[in-house]
Structures are given as structure tokens and as C-alpha cells.
């Protein structure tokens, strides 16, 4: 059973964003990490790069395949999770604790286009 956390916003492409004030922490869901299998590399953008909702900003690579990361929100990358450079498997062990990028949101209302926990749960159980 995949873990889904209340209060986060979820995208159809299995990224989540956790909003704290003007910032959003973006990562992949537990369902996504499970589907991918062992994560061996996370391709992250640079700090100060702009990201746009619906566009890719990097990739998560399992042994077998690369999977694009689609940003659920727009804004500027203010921090990337450096720990993932040396320990990409952290995405497997706790994908919600181990967010991938921290974004300064340019449009806080964008999250309204995303799913809440219940809607995401319904989607992955379809």
C-alpha cells in the first residue's frame, strides 16, 4: 500500500509539492518510487534555474530506466537536495522526507490545479 500524506498537493505524473509559505518542496510520491524500483541517480537542476508547472526539470533514474521529473509548480529553484547526489536511494526509503527541489513559488494559486491526498489516492487505485 503506497503511503500518501494529507496536506500535500499531487500531480498526475506522481510528483508532490509541500507548500510552506512562499516555498514549495517538490519530490516524487511513494507510489512513484515503488514503481521505479532502486533509484540510482537523481538528475537535479541548478539553484536559480526557473521551473514551470507541467515541464520537466530533471529525472529520476532507476537501474533500468530514466523517468522525467515534471514540475507541479512554477518558480525559481532556491535549493536542491544535495544529499541525493551521494545517496539517491533516500528517495526509496522516504520520498516525502527526501524532497528533490525547493522552489520559490511564482504563483501560489497554481496548486489548486493539483490533486489533494484523497483525489491522488483514488487515481492510483484506479
Amino acid at each position: 500500500m503506497s503511503k500518501i500524506i494529507e496536506g500535500l498537493y499531487y500531480a498526475e505524473s506522481h510528483e508532490y509539492v509541500r507548500v510552506e509559505g512562499e516555498y514549495g518542496y517538490v519530490g516524487i510520491t511513494d507510489y512513484a518510487q515503488h514503481e521505479l524500483g532502486n533509484v540510482v541517480y537523481v538528475d537535479m537542476p541548478d539553484v536559480d534555474d526557473d521551473v514551470t508547472a507541467g515541464e520537466d526539470f530533471g529525472a529520476v533514474e532507476s537501474v533500468k530506466a530514466a523517468s522525467d521529473l515534471i514540475s507541479p509548480v512554477s518558480g525559481t529553484v532556491v535549493e536542491v537536495n544535495e544529499a541525493l547526489n551521494d545517496n539517491p536511494e533516500l528517495v526509496n526509503s522516504d520520498p516525502y522526507e527526501n524532497w528533490i527541489i525547493k522552489v520559490q513559488l511564482s504563483d501560489a494559486a497554481e496548486v489548486e490545479n493539483l490533486m489533494d491526498a484523497d483525489a491522488y489516492k483514488a487515481m492510483i487505485n484506479e
Partner: protein, 362 residues
């Protein structure tokens, strides 16, 4: 077209395997995860369902002459039980398939071919056989096959399966009578580890599978780690490193091509050798952990100079490495090249295409 299923398909489903199409079959890619399965084979013992592989029996008065004519390696005068790796080539030198030839006995040769090429190979072999006194029989449906691989395999095959195997040298085989049928066991594999491949009826294959898993000493392993294992030790996969338009010389498999005998494609390969190769498969090690994958472009001096054939973050070494077909000017060891991965270009160096040492028992 519906994919075929091996005789162990129901077992894979019951084990909760991730199933994906490969070579026209629905095959198990992983049961738990690729890393654990890979490590089980490197460190202990794993079993693979490789029943999708094709088997072709060639018999008849001219079988040795015929097999030697369609095969790049030289089987002339081989003792019974000897196994050879090599290629079947088109007249152009391109590879029809790579395969193992088992000399079972005088005038009886057992060819093991890739699942994805069974129809093509059988048609091609039958076509070449027209002018020879041989019988060609596709036995792919008849045989199930498991590959038991890893350093603990010999003891497990002896004790758990009760099949005497420690008399088999590397790349030899024998037939064994068990429960009223003749099975084939060979000291071969596709992982770089010691191990055996066992061919028998579907019922026998199911029994072997069940016994191995019930022992608790053998991990079921999917095609996912079969690929990471063979890749690390530089073994080619047809469709990646070999193809109808890639020659054995370009793939770096010249040691399995014997020019002192006649075979289809010899002239083209001799010409290619005389003129010098224009491209060749080498290894590349990246400085970063980004992963080069099949089809990604390789660049140098601002130009595209080749393409990745297989790449991984090597499970055994942790390095991001790949095999790639490169323009010959860039194939010297340590040449600086780069692989384009999504939007960025990652620098690396040309290396040998063996990233991990084989651990065979010779």
C-alpha cells in the same frame, strides 16, 4: 501478436514478478528488485528462467561441415560435450545471431539462439542447409531452460538437484538420464559467474525450479539483473551490441571468428579487416553518476561520434559506464568523449568494455 509464455510463467506470476515483453515472450524482469537479484548472483546463487531461448538441433552426415559453414568459430574435430560461442553472419559480415553450439555427439549439434531471433534464425539456417546432407529441427517449444548462476552453484546443483556436475569443465556439457528423460546440463551462463544451464522438458524444468526455490539457497532472478550482470563483464546482447548491420569485428568479438576455415561472411570480414574498422564498440566511464542509456549520442570535438549500446550505473562498482559504438578515431583507451543525457553533456573516458572481472571456474 500475443506474446508467448514460458513453461514457468505461472510461477513468476505467483511470485509477484514484474512481467514485461522480451523477445516475443512475457518474461519476469524482477521479483524483488534488480540490485538484490544482481548481488545474489555475484555473491551466492540465483536462478533464471531462460526457457525463451531457442534450441535448434542439427543432425546428419554433413552436420559438422554445415555448422562450421554457418558459424564463425571453428568446431572441426571437437570432442563430444564441447561448447563454442560464436556468430552466424550474413554474406555482408553483419550478424544474423550470436549463439552457442553444443557438440552433443558425432553428427549431432545443439544450437542455442536468442529468443528474439528464433523465427529469423530457423528460416535462415534451413535456407543455408539446402545443399547439405543435414536435418534441421527447431526444438524451441520442446525445451524449458533454467540458468543457475553464482559462486555457490556447483554445490547447489549437486546437493539440491542431485545432478552430478563438478566433472564439467567451463564450456562443456553432458546429457543425463533423470526420471525417464534425457536432460542437458552445461557449464555456461551469461553473468560472468560460474554456473550451469539446464535444458529439459517443461515438467522437468518446473521440478528443477521448485526444488531450487524450496532449498532457500537460490534467489529467483529476472531478466533485469541478467542484463546488468552480462553488461558488467562486457558480454554482448543481440539488439544492443550485435545486429544485422554490425559485424563481429566491430563488436570486438574477433576472437570468435576463425579465418582459417570457410564460413558465410568470411570474405566481407576479411575485407573489413584489411581496410581497417571504421567504427568499434568500446567502454566509456563517465565522471558523473548520470546514466548513459541505449541510443544516447556520444560526442567529441563538438560532433556526434557514436551511440551508446548499453549503459548502467554498474551495480557491482557503482560507476556510470556504458558500451558504445564509436567512430574508430575515438576508440583509443582514455580518449575524452562525452555522452548527451537529456539536456546536458557528461564527460568521460574510453575504457575497456569489461567493467567487472569474470569469476569463471575453468
Amino acid at each position: 501478436m500475443e506474446n508467448k509464455r514460458t513453461c514457468l510463467y505461472d510461477k513468476h506470476v505467483a511470485l509477484g514478478a514484474l512481467i514485461s515483453p522480451f523477445g516475443g515472450f512475457d518474461m519476469p524482469i524482477q521479483y524483488t528488485n534488480i540490485v538484490d537479484e544482481h548481488n545474489a548472483v555475484r555473491q551466492a546463487c540465483g536462478v533464471f528462467d531462460v526457457s525463451h531461448m531457442g534450441e535448434v538441433l542439427v543432425t546428419g552426415a554433413e552436420s559438422e561441415k554445415f555448422v562450421n559453414y554457418i558459424f564463425t568459430n571453428d568446431i572441426a574435430g571437437a570432442p563430444d560435450g564441447k561448447i563454442f560461442y560464436g556468430m552466424m553472419c550474413h554474406p555482408t559480415g553483419g550478424v544474423v545471431d550470436d549463439l552457442l553450439v553444443y557438440k552433443m555427439a558425432e553428427q549431432r549439434y545443439f544450437l542455442v539462439i536468442n529468443a528474439s531471433n528464433i523465427d529469423k534464425d530457423v528460416a535462415w539456417i534451413v535456407e543455408q542447409a539446402k545443399n547439405f546432407d543435414v536435418t534441421v529441427e527447431n526444438q524451441s517449444e520442446k525445451y524449458g531452460e533454467v540458468a543457475v548462476q553464482g559462486p555457490n552453484t556447483e554445490d547447489i546443483v549437486e546437493c539440491v538437484l542431485g545432478i552430478h556436475c563438478n566433472d564439467l569443465a567451463f564450456y562443456t556439457c553432458k546429457e543425463v538420464e533423470i526420471a525417464g528423460e534425457t536432460i542437458i546440463i552445461s557449464r555456461t551462463g551469461y553473468t560472468g559467474e560460474d554456473g550451469f544451464e539446464i535444458y529439459g522438458s517443461h515438467a522437468f524444468t518446473n521440478e528443477v525450479w521448485d526444488k531450487l526455490l524450496a532449498s532457500g539457497e537460490v534467489k529467483p532472478c529476472g531478466l533485469g539483473c541478467r542484463d546488468t550482470l552480462r553488461f558488467e563483464v562486457g558480454l554482448p546482447l543481440y539488439g544492443d551490441e550485435l545486429a544485422d548491420d554490425i559485424t563481429p569485428l566491430e563488436a570486438g568479438l574477433g576472437m570468435f571468428v576463425k579465418f582459417e576455415k570457410d564460413f558465410i561472411g568470411k570474405e566481407a570480414l576479411l575485407n573489413q579487416k584489411a581496410e581497417g574498422l571504421k567504427r568499434k564498440i568500446v567502454g566509456i566511464e563517465l565522471k558523473d553518476k548520470a546514466i548513459p542509456r541505449h541510443g544516447y549520442e556520444v560526442e567529441a570535438d563538438g560532433n556526434v561520434i557514436g551511440v551508446v549500446t548499453t549503459g548502467y550505473n554498474s551495480i557491482s562498482t557503482g560507476k556510470s559506464v556504458c558500451m558504445a559504438m564509436l567512430d574508430i578515431d575515438y576508440t583509443k583507451m582514455d580518449t575524452e568523449v562525452a555522452v548527451r543525457i537529456r539536456k546536458k553533456v557528461f564527460p568521460g573516458n574510453v575504457t575497456k568494455k569489461r567493467f567487472y572481472d569474470k569469476n569463471y571456474k575453468k
